[in-house]
Symmetry: C2
Subunit: 143 residues, 2 copies
């Protein structure tokens, strides 16, 4: 009677999938790797979800979109649930993440630049044999 109303949803895995946009397989996967709170079962073994699970899934999705790995998310979840994850820890984790992302962007931009050069070089030469591929194959084009 005094249960928190917010955890009463009683949803099937299909419902949860539609609500959150995560696939059924993904939801079960998150459970298997201990990212989800415990899930009740019907007498027949079907999973029964509550609002808490919906929120956890939303958290995972948001964090993934921020570029966090499942391992990092697990750390935050465990730390926060245990009450030990401070604001500072959270910030430094996010900062680490941001650095990684900046590095990835740099790498990709370099790749794009090289790609464009390659495409241009290929287009400028007299067709049908611009030899760019051959030179690449021969290992002549570095960087």
């Amino acid at each position: 009677m005094s249960e928190p109303q917010s955890s009463r949803a009683n949803l099937s895995i299909g419902d949860v999938s539609e609500l959150t946009g995560s696939s059924i397989d993904t939801i079960r996967y998150y459970e298997r790797v201990n990212l989800m709170p415990e899930v009740e079962r019907t007498s027949g073994g079907h999973r029964v979800y509550t609002d808490e699970h919906i929120r956890r899934l939303a958290f995972i999705r948001h964090s993934r979109a921020l570029g966090l790995s499942l391992e990092q998310i697990r750390q935050v979840v465990d730390g926060t649930e245990g009450g030990s994850y401070s604001c500072e820890e959270w910030q430094s984790l996010l900062n680490l993440c941001a650095e990684g992302i900046v590095r990835q962007i740099d790498d990709l931009r370099t790749a794009e630049r090289n790609l464009r050069e390659m495409i241009d070089a290929c287009g400028q030469a007299e067709l049908p044999n611009c030899r760019v591929v051959e030179r690449l194959l021969a290992g002549e084009i570095p960087q």
Copy 2:
């Protein structure tokens, strides 16, 4: 006596690894997935490499740095060796690649923007409880 001088190197896999910067495991892996030309063996079974292998490895490394998948590289290698890979095909492959990279960069930039917002939000509030993590955990922060 009239062998092409350029294919005479006679290198061990360790030598090749040092020369190219690819790990021994990676070199064997490329062989297993048919990205490398045939490799001779000593009577005892050790691999013996030539300059051709060095060039192929360089090609793979450059192409990987351009963002090509091993499957795409295989296509180019096979196509070029068979003489059937034209400049146009090569260009359209590179263009496809470039599109993918642009998409990835966009995604990463979005992630970075969101991360920065999150970090700022975490920093502005009165410590020690800025509640940003809690709100995220509760699924309240979307996008």
